[in-house]
């Protein structure tokens, strides 16, 4: 599944989009967050980070479908 990265999360993974296929069963938002913290320990140092599914903030228990647009949302700082 394809995941988009913005702001500091893009710097952490070194690219703006990444294909992740390491999950054995259908992952949830929480599974993706855990995966990122293991693969890229810098994620644990952030104030927080959210995941958006189809451009809406998604709760931890939401399942991720292969065709969803998934994005990592680090702490926002507009304005």
């Amino acid at each position: 599944m394809k995941v988009l990265f913005f702001g500091i999360s893009k710097d952490i993974v070194g690219k703006s989009e990444m294909e992740i296929s390491d999950f054995t069963k259908k992952p949830t938002v929480n599974d993706l967050k855990k995966y990122l913290k293991v693969e890229f320990p810098e994620f644990s140092k952030l104030t927080s980070f959210a995941v958006a599914v189809n451009s809406e903030y998604a709760k931890d228990d939401v399942s991720l479908e292969r065709n969803d647009e998934i994005a990592v949302i680090p702490p926002v700082s507009g304005g």
């Binding site: 913005f6 140092k45 451009s55 994005a71 949302i73 926002v76 700082s77 507009g78 304005g79």
Partner: protein, 139 residues
Amino acid sequence: MNKKIVEIVDAIDTSQVYAELSHPHSGGICVFVGTVREFTNKEEVVALEFETYKSMAIKELHKIADEACEKWQLNAVVLRHAVGAKNVEEPVVVVGASSAHRSECFEACRFLIDTLKERVPIWKKEIFKNKSVWVSAHP
């Protein structure tokens, strides 16, 4: 029917907003403009760089405009944010509302900018002389 303008742009023209918020049923217009400040914690900022997840940002901006129109009787609402590199004194965000009387548009304007800063997926990087920092990323 109220007027709603939501945009992510490369550069902000602050002279547009009066005409956008002007409305025959309004007796007041309140506007907030966010600009690039020269110093953060006494350190000189060279520029700010803004990045967005545009499709989601537009969705969130629309939700904020709709929420404001539910809370207050507003005739027009504007939420516009710039992206890219911005220098000291340049405008980066303009929000505003117009209403029959001033109290509604004052309250709505504060809500618009506060909620934008809380929820809209836009990220700001402060560029100093010898380093750059993503704002709010770390505790």
